[in-house]
Amino acid sequence: MYGDNSMNNNSTPDAVGRVATTATRVIGVSAIVTMAWVIVSGLFLTPEDAIQGDAVRIMYVHVPTAWVAYLAFIVTGGASLCWLLKKSPTLILDRVAGASAEIGVLFMAMTLISGSLWGRLTWGTYWVWDPRLTTTAFLFVTYVGYLAVRGLGGSPHQRAQRSAIIASLAVLEIPLVHFSVVLWRSLHQSASVLSPDGDIKMDGLMLFTLFSGVVAFSLTFLWLVMHRQRLLTMRDVIEEKGLEVAIRERQMEPEGSDL
């Protein structure tokens, strides 16, 4: 019975708990290995920065978390826009959008926290109402609102429709956040690697560790999106089947039984 905690009659014992596939296992192991390297290299192998000293070690997690948050919200926006344009009968795009937004919100929160700790060391304060920090906080709140809207009642298609419209608009905030350091006078430093002049002023191992962090966190994002959209698929199936059972039971009740 769907919605029951007992084993489903159609599930084989081997399939119980089977959400992972070979692809997600490979991605997961790759993410663990690259993450371990980032921790070791970021904390112990990379040199101090000439100006910031050891505080630069926060960069190896702060930049990749910000990158994944951007990536997650772009995936949410792209999947939502595709769903709106295609109006596909399947909800896979909506589930990918929802799963990606959940991950994006977590990584954005981590970006804000790690940025605050880094700011305490380099600026002497956890928070300032700087354009980059303010727009990032606004982006975070927007996607928390998006997740709240996804949690409202209605059918899966109603959920997909309303959340896709919000996500398609919310994604427009990302260029504003990214270019806020260029558009306004900002305390936050401008891009170090993707600078407009293309000149990278960073030690080789520091750059490699930063790049490894981006790869590790991107792999983690991919693993999480694949797994969490499968969770959303199973949750929708349980809700749909549960509703069907409830309707059938209601139809089988004798007329006037509720009087």
Partner: protein
């Protein structure tokens, strides 16, 4: 290492959050998977 507390706190919060989300996802997946038939799992 200077500023050790803030640096370690950043790493613990970041990687701790990721590990927690992964663990939660695996646990929730196992629970839901028991309630859904194989034919409703397109990835199998």
């Amino acid at each position: 290492m200077n500023d050790l507390g803030s640096i370690v706190a950043t790493y613990v919060i970041t990687f701790g959050s990721i590990v927690s989300l992964v663990a939660l996802t695996i646990q929730r997946g196992r629970k839901l998977s028991r309630q859904v038939a194989d034919q409703d799992k397109p990835w199998i």
